[in-house]
Amino acid sequence: MTGNYRSRRRVERLMFAATGAATGVTLGVLLLLLGYVAYQGVGALSWHFFTRLPAPVGEAGGGMANAIVGSGKLLLTAAVVGIPVGFLGGVYLVEYGRGTLAFAIRYAADVLNGVPSIVIGIVAYALLVRPLGHFSTLAGGVALGLMMIPVALRATEEFLRLVPDTLREAALALGAPRWITIVRVVIPAAMRGIITGLLLSLARVAGETAPLLFTALNNRFWSPGWSEPTASLPVMIFTYAIAPYEDWHRQAWAAGLVLLALVLGANVLARIVMRSGSMRMA
């Protein structure tokens, strides 16, 4: 009896140590990563970094204003492509989807989620860059949008599923047609969660580099519209990091820090959206 208890205590302590250590490693890696990027990047951060164009090769200084704006435009395009498709697809799956078609959509979304991002880049290249004849913000944004679709779809689906069926029944029993039930009751009840999911899906593609390499390409100058190549933070990091100049390396770290802050900011914003007000659903 006592021996048994002692051995159980030993196992308990062992498991506690193991799970604790795993948590520690996870947190440690994150903190190390954040800390190191911040340590390396903060030195090169300056007002100029946010407001100036990249300096000509060989000159020190300059900034990444065009890449920051470029990333913003790419993400906007991605949102326009990815959010409606992902959101409406998610609504379809939960509210209407039955049987083989729903299974096929869900399966396709999971496969699409697993497609290497470079392949998505090739597809966007073949579909947009080749026919239009030039690299562009549009092509890059569409590539990112395609990557967003499965994430946005699954997030929407997940949060709509959390809405209890009793709410749907309540609306239907009041004589609401199906679509009114969905638009006026189900979606509002899940809206907070859905917005969070969509924000996270946006954050997820914000750091993607591979799909941009031969779609948005890069640009050392401002990209005026949607049909020219554009700079973006991830591609700038890649370009600057493999260049032989000390100053570029420092700027790549700074860009990394800005990108991290962006993604982290989106995550924090998502949490705030999720918490604010009551998310309680009967």
Binding site: T166, A170, A171, L174, A176, I180, S278
Partner: protein, 270 residues
């Protein structure tokens, strides 16, 4: 009239001995869920402006029966309904019938109170709004009247714009009743409306049922036999998907025709 015809063809269920006109007439109603037979050949007349209680052990089909009356079973995949249901002579299961119009006439209150995560006002105004009422004055009037009817007005009059989820369980259930009444139904279906409530809240709901029957025809599913005895005029006993016996509540509880009914109400089985 219908009741008499019915007792001639199907003598095994007793005709409701009540002088009230028949509001809902059910004939040969059969429901399958997939290959399971949930309701087997049910015939029942629900009198107007009376409370009809459906009792029976869990899984006996009483909730399924209730959900046939406003076609809520339409939304369950695999459910098949056969037979006839008429309300004031209008067929319920007719391809030409719009479930939306039907549910305007037949309101429903569920076992678990299910207010929308909206304000108290918007909960009650939801039905009238989706049926086309836009005038804020009219909406306000409907909300106030139905909250009065549901005996909730005095408790919420100062906080109509607060979330309905802040209300207590009993208040939420009365809100759901007000919400159902706001559509202006003729029939009110209640699926164990008080089973999740404490005795005081339950008493309020029961009192409410008493008051509402002057204006509405009420069908209530309950697991609580004292409740059935207290609130209903007519009681129907379901067992294993069949309607075993139906009759005036007092008679059914004191002198049931069928031995199965007696076993159930005296607690000898289950």
């Amino acid at each position: 009239m219908l009741a008499r015809t019915f007792s001639r063809v199907r003598p095994r269920a007793s005709a409701p001995a009540t002088d009230a006109a028949v509001k809902i007439a059910v004939r040969e109603l059969t429901v399958h869920y997939g290959s399971t037979l949930a309701l087997d050949d049910i015939a029942l007349d629900v009198p107007a402006h009376r409370v009809t209680a459906l009792i029976g052990p869990s899984g006996c089909g009483k909730s399924t029966f209730l959900r046939c009356l406003n076609r809520m079973n339409d939304h369950l995949p695999g459910a098949r309904v056969g037979g006839q249901v008429t309300i004031d002579g209008d067929p319920v299961y007719d391809p030409a019938v719009d479930p939306v119009a039907l549910r305007k006439r037949v309101g429903m209150v569920f076992q678990k109170s299910n207010p929308f995560p909206k304000s108290i006002f918007d909960n009650v105004a939801f039905g009238p709004r989706i049926h086309g009422e836009r005038d804020p004055v009219r909406l306000r009037e409907i909300v106030e009247r139905t909250l009065h009817q549901a005996a909730l007005w005095d408790e919420v009059r100062d906080r109509l714009d607060r979330s309905a989820l802040e209300l207590s369980g009993g208040q939420q259930q009365r809100l759901c009743i007000a919400r159902a009444l706001a559509v202006g139904p003729e029939v009110l279906l209640m699926d164990e409306p008080a089973s999740a409530l404490d005795p005081i809240a339950t008493a309020k709901i029961e009192e409410l049922i008493h008051e509402l029957k002057a204006a509405y025809t009420i069908v209530i599913v309950t697991h609580n036999m004292q409740q059935a005895a207290r609130v209903s005029d007519l009681t129907a006993y379901f067992y294993l998907g069949r309607l075993i016996e139906v009759g005036p509540t007092e008679r059914l509880f004191t002198n049931p025709d069928r031995p199965e009914t007696e076993d159930y109400i005296t607690g000898r089985f289950g």
